[in-house]
Amino acid sequence: MFNFLKRYRFRISIGLILAVLMLSLLGQVESRRNENWFSYAIQTLTHPLLSVTHSVGEGVKNLWLGYVWLVNARSENEALKAKLRELTEQVAHHQEIVFAYERQKQLLQFAAENQDEKVFAEVVGEVERGFSRLLVLNKGSRYGIKKNFAVVTPDGVVGKIQSVTPFESVVQLITDPNSQFPVLVQETRAKAMVEGNLEGGLKILHFPRRMVIEKGDMVISSGLSGIYPKGFRVGTVSGIEKKEFGLFQTLTLTPYVDLNRIEEVAVILRAKGNPEPPLFTD
């Protein structure tokens, strides 16, 4: 018997294996595929192999995609940069529209709130010559603008019309050294004359020494000159110079309106509280 088994060990083993497999298959005829320990063991054993392979594969893939695949990246990069420039320009254009809309909205609000008769104009030019700095507006006498009319924004005083033609007018800014007009300190109601200085700011040379004034105090137009209507903001006190003796103190003001960033202005044709046109008009 033992000799028989020994002699035919291969055939018997193969027959046994075949029988087991066939029985296993027959057992699965009526049912679904069975889970078995062999599959479980093989899948468990192969897991580390697959994990390592996957990691290595991902590394190679990243290397490929990160470096080798980038052969055409240069030309693609150039095209994308060009596209980016184009889109940036478009965004800037759209942003400009938004800003313009905001300004127009502010002006409309100003037009509704302020009862003065006025005309809106756009700043189309800027002239800097010597110490003077002038703005050119796109509207002139055809719109009723005359010399010495006040030019304002919703924020405050900008200047006055220096010269006018039918189609445009030139504005002398309040910071011009040749500009001078009466103002009022909002808190104390103290009166003074403000004038432009060479540094592009404002100063009050003869402010009574006994008057209490502090940095940050608001200065507004007094309406006494007959040019600027009363109540428009002129500037804030940024410096106080008081000598040991004398009747006056000198104030330095910072213009309330940012005169470097003006794009639209309003020219006051007739102030509500002053039915007469500004003094000294032509």
């Binding site: 595929r33 192969t46 594969g57």
Partner: protein, 168 residues
């Protein structure tokens, strides 16, 4: 020890190739378990080839949705004519022979599978099945049989073993 290492190397390669490498290629799908079994049975020629065939078949079964054991049985059955062919006709070192054998083995296997599918299922024959069998399975298997066979010979040299039992 050498034959075990060769067998394990082929098993590992087949598993790695089937599970990772070929999964990324939809147009190239040779059955590496079958190819390994064919080459080892052809080259080894001993009765151990049947056990190897069953082993590779069961490995294929582990990653198949068919009833467990289908590949084990079919590989075992295939190993008998292959061993006969290996003993009677196959010549070591002739690279053309494993290509032809692998190609026809898989083609026969595939045709039998299709016939069984038609007999047992309710499907009608589609020409694309044959196209897939040839283009995706059989031809890639034939192509891969050469490097795999060379690898087998190289492993023999490396471990200084002689698997082939045939004496000329």
């Amino acid at each position: 020890m050498g034959p075990v290492i060769v067998g394990l190397t082929f098993a590992g390669l087949s598993l790695w190739g089937e599970l990772y490498l070929l999964g990324m290629l939809t147009w190239f799908g040779p059955n590496l378990f079958l190819l390994s079994a064919i080459l080892l049975v052809l080259h080894w020629r001993g009765p151990e080839g049947h056990f190897l065939a069953v082993g590779f078949g069961l490995l294929a079964d582990c990653y198949s949705s068919a009833p467990f054991g289908v590949y084990g049985v079919s590989f075992l059955l295939l190993s008998f004519p292959l061993r006969w062919y290996g003993l009677k006709m196959f010549q070591d070192g002739v690279l053309f022979l494993p290509v032809v054998v692998a190609f026809f083995s898989l083609a026969c296997n595939g045709l039998i599978y299709i016939l069984l599918y038609l007999l047992l299922g309710e499907h009608r024959f589609q020409l694309s099945w044959l196209k897939d069998l040839l283009g995706r399975d059989a031809i890639p298997l034939g192509v891969l049989s050469v490097p795999m066979y060379l690898l087998l010979l190289r492993l023999e040299d490396l471990f200084q073993i002689r698997l082939s039992l045939r004496k000329f």
